[in-house]
Symmetry: C2
Subunit: 475 residues, 2 copies
């Protein structure tokens, strides 16, 4: 499908490639600053030798259209337009640099980029391995689903009503009392945070969280102009701290009390009660991000939401960590006025979530397929956790510490020495190994890695950890 040089042309391959690249630059597709694909990728796309690609690139560099930057690749130069013609093009770079939303942190952009490639060993990915996804059963359930026209039209603002009813029932087992009107279907928990940021908080609001924090690796609140403030739930002056930093501003407390991301920690019941009582007194709403709950290995735990008698807790759930991230289905449980407000904004943002995905999730939960799948999944994750812990025990005991996993995906590995910096990240990436370094969850952290046993195969985990160990010993 992609363009290739043709053997019917009167031009040589390398001349055709030069013309094609000039056209891309001229048309604005490869604007100033665009990083062009690697020689290897281009050689594959064009079905030519790398030397042919190199010849073409050299010519364009000599013309001043392209430029190599040491160690980071080949880029379209900022004089390329003048070289080609004296034409006017929008200055996209200027547009982007001055726009509202923050770019992802560079390490996270690299993670997003390299997660696309099959040859990469992913030691930190917060996602189920392809072999753990119930692909065949999902395919089977597609065959069983009956669509009606209503279910493929625009969904009602709060989402598919059947799914909301099914969820009410499902969440009861977790001590959460709700009615369908208290549930908003969203495209994953991240979108829930986005909606809360723009729909419930004024600019300059204070977001309290504990670090390390998943929130430090994403920016829904920061991009909406909120201030992040780190507090620790066990600090004896927690209430005072919240009061002082909140002052007269609006605020919200974000937490992942069950199988925390990235630490894997479960809060004690006492800690939950304490936080709830303090926040209630100070009228600080709480976001309970509970997307890992189903993955507790041995027993369930009471949610903060189940303690909530005052409509204080906004509860987030999702099937992305358990069934399939590709469905893009999550939910918010909240008081009705909150649900109505967020539904109104969701309608203004994307007119609702995929109706098809909502049907599938309702089908899986209501038929018990989901519960059965979860049983099996927990078993497999537990085995994977044991596998990785065994390697750690044998090889990392002298240089690092960690807690035994109680569920979910992660082990928050702490190195005794502060060796986890961007250089280590890039060094491993150079060996096709991708890690999630602690500093993306807590700026300045140089001790931790969020290891995930959910994604890579056991052989890959072994190989990846071995390479990591060699690097660490080398430090």
């Amino acid at each position: 499908m992609k363009w290739k040089p043709s053997s019917d042309s009167h031009l040589t391959f390398h001349e055709q490639i030069v013309d094609w690249m000039k056209f891309r630059i001229e048309s604005g597709d490869w604007a100033v600053g665009t990083k062009i694909p690697t020689q290897r990728q281009l050689a594959i796309q064009f079905n030519v030798n790398r030397s042919t690609v190199q010849l073409a690139l050299d010519e364009l560099k000599a013309d001043g259209l392209l430029q190599s930057k040491l160690g980071s690749g080949v880029f379209v130069t900022n004089i390329s337009w003048n070289v080609l013609l004296n034409k006017t093009q929008p200055n996209w770079k200027k547009h982007i640099d001055s726009s509202i939303h923050r770019a992802n942190d560079h390490t996270i952009q690299l993670i997003n980029e390299y997660e696309q490639y099959n040859h990469i060993i992913r030691l930190g990915t917060g996602e189920l391995s392809p072999e753990l996804l119930p692909t065949k059963q999902l395919e089977q359930s597609l065959k069983e689903i009956t669509l009606d026209a209503k279910s493929i039209g625009y969904s009602s603002p709060k989402g598919n009503e059947r799914l909301r009813r099914v969820l009410c029932d499902y969440l009861k087992r977790r001590g959460i009392q709700s009615e369908p009107e208290n549930i908003l279907i969203v495209s994953g928990a991240l979108q829930a945070l986005q909606l809360i940021a723009i729909g419930l908080l004024e600019e300059g609001s204070v977001i309290f969280h504990e670090e390390p924090s998943y929130l430090s690796s994403i920016h829904p609140f920061q991009s909406a102009g909120m201030r992040m403030h780190t507090v620790m739930r066990n600090h004896q002056k927690l209430a005072e701290n919240l009061k002082v930093f909140k002052r007269k501003r609006q605020s919200i407390f974000y937490c992942v009390p069950t199988l925390n991301n990235p630490t894997g920690v479960n809060w004690l019941l006492e800690e939950k009660k304490n936080l709830y009582n303090i926040c209630k007194e100070l009228q600080i709403p709480i976001i309970e991000d509970d997307v890992y709950h189903e993955l507790l290995f041995d027993h369930t735990l009471p949610t903060l939401k189940s303690l909530d008698k005052s409509g204080q807790v906004l509860y987030l759930g999702s099937v992305s960590k358990t069934l399939s991230p590709g469905l893009r289905i999550g939910w918010i449980v909240a008081p009705s006025p909150v649900v109505e407000r967020l539904a109104d904004i969701k309608m203004q943002t994307d007119y609702g979530s995929s109706a098809l995905s909502q049907e599938i999730v309702a089908h899986w939960i209501s038929t018990g397929l989901y519960e059965n799948h979860l049983k099996n999944l927990r078993e497999q994750l537990k085995n994977r956790a044991a596998f990785i812990e065994n390697i750690l025990e044998n090889q990392f005991r002298k240089i690092a510490t960690w807690n035994k996993s109680e569920g979910g995906f992660y082990i928050w590995l702490r190195f005794n020495k502060p060796i986890v910096n961007k250089a280590l990240f890039l060094n491993l990436l150079n060996q096709n190994i991708l890690i999630n370094p602690g500093y993306i969850y807590h700026s300045g952290d140089s001790h931790h890695i969020r290891l995930s046993y959910a994604y890579a195969s056991l052989a890959e985990i072994k190989e990846g950890l071995h390479a990591l160990l060699l690097l660490c010993n080398h430090e």
Copy 2:
């Protein structure tokens, strides 16, 4: 699934209902200001007589927990909490009122709300009628699709690669040259606007558009702090106006040049060339919203994007108007740096669109199912347009004017007298008829209605227009 009073209880039905409602208020689910469902809806939910519901409501009103507001329903009073207990709850209303995103216009909120009810005749809905949706074929294609684990995991930032390749090919027929790297898959065109607003424009940027405008009925740019500015493409001083109002600020020009929403108008080729040249000279990027293109009845038209030699035009498409809005799949065609930037923000917003929906769309377009469906759909819409035009011709000729439809969903009906105000909207709603009044597309317009022949059944259209006519003659 929903709660119902039980006949096993030692309490009467109405006592159980009172307790249940008190619990809802107490728990914060029915916070201050919540509008509670109608007596009729509650009677259905509880499976009791309306008189039982009324008894319960009367008791709660006497207690000061509920309050009727004339003509708008029954609400939770602002002293309800004091009445129940002296407890602290978050003040959600204050949160909502001071937060960042604009609420939908009240008329639009009512439209969103009433579109959920089956008994409403929807004369303005911009959506295919259930009978025009290819529900059975979609169900059939679910059975044919093979999933692989990769396709149900998190999607790559730009979206399913196969779909992007299929779209490159598909868009060639419309004169649009692109590579997969120039395409970003989004959850519908509205999300594309949202991403552009926060990803390409600084606060205070100027958004140019023609009014009436779809953009006036939604607020992605306004909520991001941009200024809307109305210009007309045929104004002889268009270039000067753009220059004056842009000044040194960033700006973008939004347009729907093919089957405009709400007017149905198609721009002339000369108008497109003229706008493109002016915007190119002034370095104003253009958003070409082209979601109705496939619904041109008789012949295709050149897109603005096909004239674009400078990477100036951001082109939006979608299957929401043609195949199924519930899939939530659309796309942006743009220069690579723009696609990369918006993909980065999309990853931060919702981690991509439904993988399942993307698979389905790729399947429909690549197998030709989509093209076949469109042929049939255009035929049916053409018949519907003729039906509504026939009624207009026979009954509205003396009081209104309109253009014959060339495709899409809409007729922009202009009444000679300025009778289209909120009172008319509410009056019709009272008769269970929903219209899209012109003022939601152009503040202050009191002459127009956006009629849609796409949604309501022919019998409903006839009945609805009859009621409208009676009201108009009454004015």
